[in-house]
Amino acid sequence: MAHAKNFLTEFDVFDATQWESWLDAALSGNCRVISPERDEALQDYIIRVFKGVPLRQKDIFSQVLSAVITQCPHLESYAERWYILLKIAQVVRPPVQSLLRTMLATGFGNTTVQEMGRETKLQSNLLLVVAKYGVDDWLVEYIWKTSEKNYDDFEYGLLCMRILSWRLDSSCLAYHRNLIPLFKNSLHVAQYQPEFYLVIKRLGCRLVMNWFQTFITKIELFESHSFELWIQGFQVAHLRYKDDPYALSVLAELKARDGRFDINTLSELARVRSEREPDLIPNFMLRIKDTVSWEYDDAMALIAPQFAFPHLHLFRSKSFSAPLEMGSPELELLDRANFLGGHREVGRSPFIQQPTSTVH
């Protein structure tokens, strides 16, 4: 604790002039009072100092940073300094919102900078810092505009999706129209799935499912390699919500789509059937009835009474070619999932076959 105390004491007496001097030196790589830690980039070092000081000092630091940002020329030769300033501003949020928006609108984000040996543009960092002040209609419009015209790189698309999701509406889902065509390889799948996991968490599985069920009807637009890659990421992201009926419904729908809808899927669905929306699963089954291979008519019919499924006749009209046998693994599975309710006894359900007669 002693070290922390010393640290705070040293910065606690800083006035605006001292902060200005310290920040100016630090931005030039001359780190005073404390030094960067192992692996620490310059901007992370400055942010660490900011986070470590008391609130009063944070306020002074923020004002000093505003002045530094306001005075920094919009020239390519200052790109590296801008990169660091933008990173710091993402955390500090100094009162320079309108200046940063102007920079975004005038295209300063196209300026290139070296980031740990790689050339990158300031655009993503500029967009992120502007979004930290709030995502209003102007910014949404800007994101759509720049995504369509200038920035076709995947990581930028992911950033746009993330920022749009902060609005807590479906705009980030609608943005998939731009994002999906950017999927090119498995790296993009790996990058997308944790980001979309957070989108689901923010918006809720129900909103995502409703969007998906409408969206999937328009897939002709995307019948492509990119679309298939996206579906993989979309699916993996949902796997982390296995206790949510809406997520399960989406996963089951994806399985039905590629012919993998099986009794295990059915069992999973039953496990999480929604009390908020009792018709969720029956409606889902009705929707997919033409998609799946109906080898599991029996199971479908079995679950119908459990859900008071109003469309039972659709399945009853089919032939039950392979009734489930007592003791069969499929039946056990359904039983565990509490599908059968009071229908497990032989004779009560027309779908359970009499056991093979034995000689006494």
Partner: protein
């Protein structure tokens, strides 16, 4: 007390006239003693070359803070790539163990998640949730890190430990893994205000082809307020590994190597959260220097009985 240091300097840096004066200045305070002992250990074990040390000493301004000046001299040296290990012998990965890199979550976010995340509190919390849902103890069931397209640091030097050794150290303290790793590896990260670091461990695949090497005095940051880097002769059962002193001096220290950056990771790399850290307290120079002198004796006379 420091005769062994003087002896090593006399024997190895006899062609560098400023070395004796530099050493006298360095030995007048704890941080300088620490640096001098490390230099002596690495000179006597031939891990570093006298010619490089002579050049650095000659270009160091003899001031009150000799280690900080030495650090500046390293960064400005004409042969920086060599000092950063460009010619240090590379070691293959252990065949039955894996490397593990222990870093702060915000370092990972800053280096590996591109411009999608800031390092403010909500972004760090989201990054942990999305990218590291698993604890280090449950690391194997975590998701792979193929989304990382650049595995490097500003100096392109990455410190790694033995996964087996780290796991053993932290499994005894499941609720305090972050603090234990922070202490054992001599990382000395601290909590300050809103800066509450969380440590994560990234496990490499077993026998990964990356060529790592033993860290040297040039890779330690001698401008830091607290530095626990401590050189050591090769332990017979840990050839080619360094061993930074633990922060408290009471926790078992762990072996470590360094390697240069990789172009990206694969799904065979997995990560887990070690947890938050407690402050490690003040640096106990007395204990550090005693341990350094003990290691210097081993470096010059060999391990007693050939084993540690």
């Amino acid at each position: 007390m420091f005769e062994p240091v003087l002896e090593v300097f006399s024997a190895t840096l006899k062609d560098c006239p400023p070395a004796q004066q530099w050493l006298l200045g360095a030995l007048s305070h704890h941080a300088g003693q620490h640096l001098s002992i490390c230099l002596s250990i690495e000179l006597s074990t031939k891990l570093i070359a006298p010619v490089d040390v002579s050049r650095l000493i000659a270009s160091t301004v003899i001031a009150t803070d000799i280690p900080a000046m030495f650090s500046v001299a390293i960064q400005k040296d004409i042969d920086l790539p060599r000092l950063l290990g460009a010619q240090t012998p590379r070691m293959p990965s252990p065949s039955a163990d894996a490397y593990v890199r222990v870093i702060k979550l915000n370092t990972f976010v800053s280096h590996c998640l591109g411009a999608r995340y800031s390092t403010d509190g909500p972004d760090l919390a989201e990054a942990q949730d999305a990218y590291f849902p698993n604890s280090f103890a449950d690391l194997e069931s975590g998701t792979g890190l193929s989304y990382v397209t650049q595995w490097t640091t500003p100096k392109n030097i990455l410190w790694v430990a033995s996964y087996a050794e780290l796991s053993q150290a932290v499994e005894a303290v499941p609720n305090n893994m972050g603090s234990t790793a922070n202490d054992s590896l001599g990382l000395a990260h601290v909590n300050r205000g809103d800066d509450r670091p969380i440590l994560i461990g990234i496990k490499y695949p077993v026998a990964h082809p990356v060529e790592a090497f033993k860290p040297t005095v040039y890779l330690a940051d001698w401008s830091a307020q607290k530095i626990y880097y401590l050189s050591a002769a090769d332990d017979p059962s840990w050839i080619g590994w360094g061993c930074t002193r633990s922060c408290t001096g009471r926790t078992k220290e762990l072996h470590e190597r360094v390697h240069n950056g990789l172009p990206g990771l694969t799904d065979e790399f997995v990560g887990g959260v070690l947890g938050p850290i407690d402050d490690v307290g003040d640096l106990d120079y007395q204990s550090l220097i005693q341990e350094g002198l003990r290691r210097l004796e081993i470096a010059t006379k060999g391990y007693p009985g050939g084993a540690r």
